[in-house]
Symmetry: C2
Subunit: 423 residues, 2 copies
């Protein structure tokens, strides 16, 4: 029997009514003939409420007990969902992380899965039961209850799907799937029916918060097909899998307004300078989004770092001290900068790609401060105020908007304006 | 190291503030030198809330999933309490029923403990840690999560105390301990510093709802000393243990207004009649509080049954059919009757006890319909309207009231009346 793993987030399960609606979807999938394993998060904002309770008892909750506390959340959802499925006449059984055989290391609140002993789940699947599994939790090699950190339920779903040899892992969310751009900034952004793991990783890293990178990386390593789809309605969402074509194609545009750019000016060239500085920043808790250094044959170079705006003060302090140590001339920091990135497998191998990006931005009179590229990404530092315009310009240039027929809503808006009373 | 098991109910742990206050009490006990194991219930009315959630999903929640759901409650309390203790500088660790090694049968929602494999608790006690255990829950021999039914947390505490060879099991509640009578009916009722298991069982069975009979029976079988004490303040409560003195002493008066008396009249004497009728009543779900039959040498006798008023209709139907079968003349049922009982080890062996009871009641002009006795109890059927007066008369007769100094409040009430304006 082919197995499908479905994962539902807290919003999709926030009320008894939504739980019953999810149960209907599961029963329909079960009746279509597949074995179904369902991974659930805690209902709505239960996890935040439990955290609040803990903090009202102690300012720094000990992590072992925090795991014990937070895992109560999925326990409630999983048993209610199992009841709702049984109420629809299908057999179901719920399992905790421990009962599901999800064995982790001992890092409380941020554990990693070491192994899944899924024999109990397999036995229940063989009995044609829907198996509901508490996401986000496991049991450590020391028999302690652990949680998997941010995005933990996605990790549970992906790891179970791999372990069970599932055909697909479906991540149900409150969005339609992965879009070509943020629709709040690029109103015509369209749904991507398909995307590669690498592209998804670039999208996730740069702000498309639908799926945690950890889950995508795990799926990629095991060639597990992921599908991000809406928990309401019949949308088929976005399939994430290995690339099938070498043809460079732009999949999406991401942007970020809350970044800062720091530069160490006139750094004496040395093979170790860059890695030393990056290490110091990491030790201070600053996440370096990316960095670049000037090319050329001079004796000194400039090192530039893109960090989150919230890390600016810390980063500046670290770089000032590094500057003295390695003999750099000065530290410069720019706030008021933003980032726009174009994502697509192999796009930096395509000769005209950079030209098209630069032309599209300059046509919109947007000044490009710096450029950083990876295999699947071209990122431009631009003025913060131009970020929205830049994202829209690039989406138009690379055909990331909905087809014209689907854009009739904007036409409608126009008509509405036209019919307003004339002054 | 001597171990004490403490059990705290949901009311004592209903808020973060109360949890912190319980933590202080535990830390004080730990610093006094004993090993401490704490059994907790779910916070406040959490269990009822979870039940409500289940019923909003399905009208008859399946019992296996109900157990999974309800056990989330103690999980929250135990981890918060452990955090609060750690915040006070003591080491603590919380365990689920399963982690505590509480092995039960497979009767979901009403499981019985088969065995406690307490080695994990012992290891933590040896590390001088306070061990917090989720009450009311266990794991079945089939590795399923189970709950122990009503009063389940008390059972957990008593069973753990026995298994660990604890010196005492302390049940913390929102009352001062076991009183000689219901203070709502007998305002002068006083706290009993000490009581035997048998007396406590009679008190529990007749309406003193502080401790479930199941826990008292279990403690009695293993000669475990129980102590019922208040979770607020320094009261030492009531100690429940094996009897130490043969001297008959009246420990308390209980009463019940919601009973009914049924009689089968003129039953042909036969060794099997009574047991047949009692069995039929039990099969119909009627709890027979107690029964008695007329003595004497006639060929027929009367069988009388005391049942809860809510079971009257069912009991009458069963007895009508039994009457035909065994050839009894008729069935009589009386509503409007009540019960008052005097409790004390060996009181029925004391020659003047019945006389004192009858005299006290007749002095208050209360007609006694029937009398039933056990080793530790004398119960009188009286008119429902006389129940309160009877309880007060018997409490006075057997010196169950607070000493005179403590009764100044009633004196105060008298003075208040005297100082009222004279018409």
């Amino acid at each position: 029997m082919k197995v499908i793993v479905q994962k539902y987030g807290g919003t999709s399960l926030a009320t008894p009514a939504r739980i019953r609606s999810v149960a209907k979807r599961i029963v329909a999938a079960r009746r279509a003939g597949c074995g179904i394993v369902v991974v659930v998060s805690a209902m709505g904002d239960t996890t935040e409420q439990l955290l609040g309770l803990a903090r009202s008892v102690i300012s720094q909750p000990p992590r072992r007990e925090l795991d014990m506390l937070l895992t109560a959340g999925e326990r409630v959802t999983m048993s209610l969902l199992s009841m709702a499925i049984q109420d629809l006449g299908s057999e179901a059984i719920s399992f905790t992380g421990s009962q599901s055989g999800i064995i982790t290391d001992t890092s409380h609140t941020n554990a990693h899965i070491l192994e899944i002993r899924a024999d109990r789940i397999r036995r229940e699947l063989a009995k044609k039961r829907v198996v509901i599994v508490a996401g986000f939790q496991g049991v450590s090699v020391e028999r302690e209850v652990t949680t998997l950190g941010r995005g933990g339920s996605d990790i549970t779903a992906v790891a179970l799907a791999i372990s069970l040899g599932a055909r697909e892992c479906e991540i149900y969310t409150d969005v339609d799937g992965i879009l070509t751009a943020d629709p709040r900034v690029v109103p015509g952004a369209r749904l991507l029916p398909e995307i590669t793991y690498d592209e998804m990783l670039e999208l996730a890293g740069l702000g498309a918060r639908v799926l945690q990178s950890r889950s995508v990386e795990l799926a990629a390593r095991h060639h597990l097909t992921l599908r991000v789809r809406p928990s309401i309605g019949e949308g088929t969402g976005t399939v994430i899998r290995d690339e099938t074509l070498e043809r460079p194609e732009v999949r999406g545009v991401t942007h970020d307004e809350a970044i800062a750019l720091l530069s160490l000016r006139r750094v004496p060239r040395s093979p170790r300078s860059l890695s030393q500085v990056v290490t110091s920043l990491a030790n201070a808790g600053v996440a370096v989004r990316f960095f670049f250094h000037g090319a050329g044959a001079e004796k000194t170079t400039d090192l530039s770092f893109v960090v989150n705006e919230s890390d600016l003060a810390t980063a500046r302090r670290v770089l000032a001290s590094e500057a003295r140590r390695i003999g750099a001339r000065e530290v410069r920091a720019s706030k008021g900068v933003g980032l726009v990135s174009v994502i697509g497998v192999g796009i930096t191998r395509s000769p005209d790609m950079l030209a098209r990006i630069f032309t599209a931005l300059s046509r919109s009179r947007i000044h490009i401060g710096s450029v950083s590229t990876s295999e699947t990404r071209v990122s431009c530092i631009i003025p913060q105020s131009a970020v929205g315009r830049a994202a829209r310009a690039l989406a138009r240039e690379f055909d990331l908007m909905k087809p014209r027929t689907a854009r009739s809503t904007s036409g409608g808006r126009g008509r509405k304006r036209a019919s307003a009373p004339r002054e």
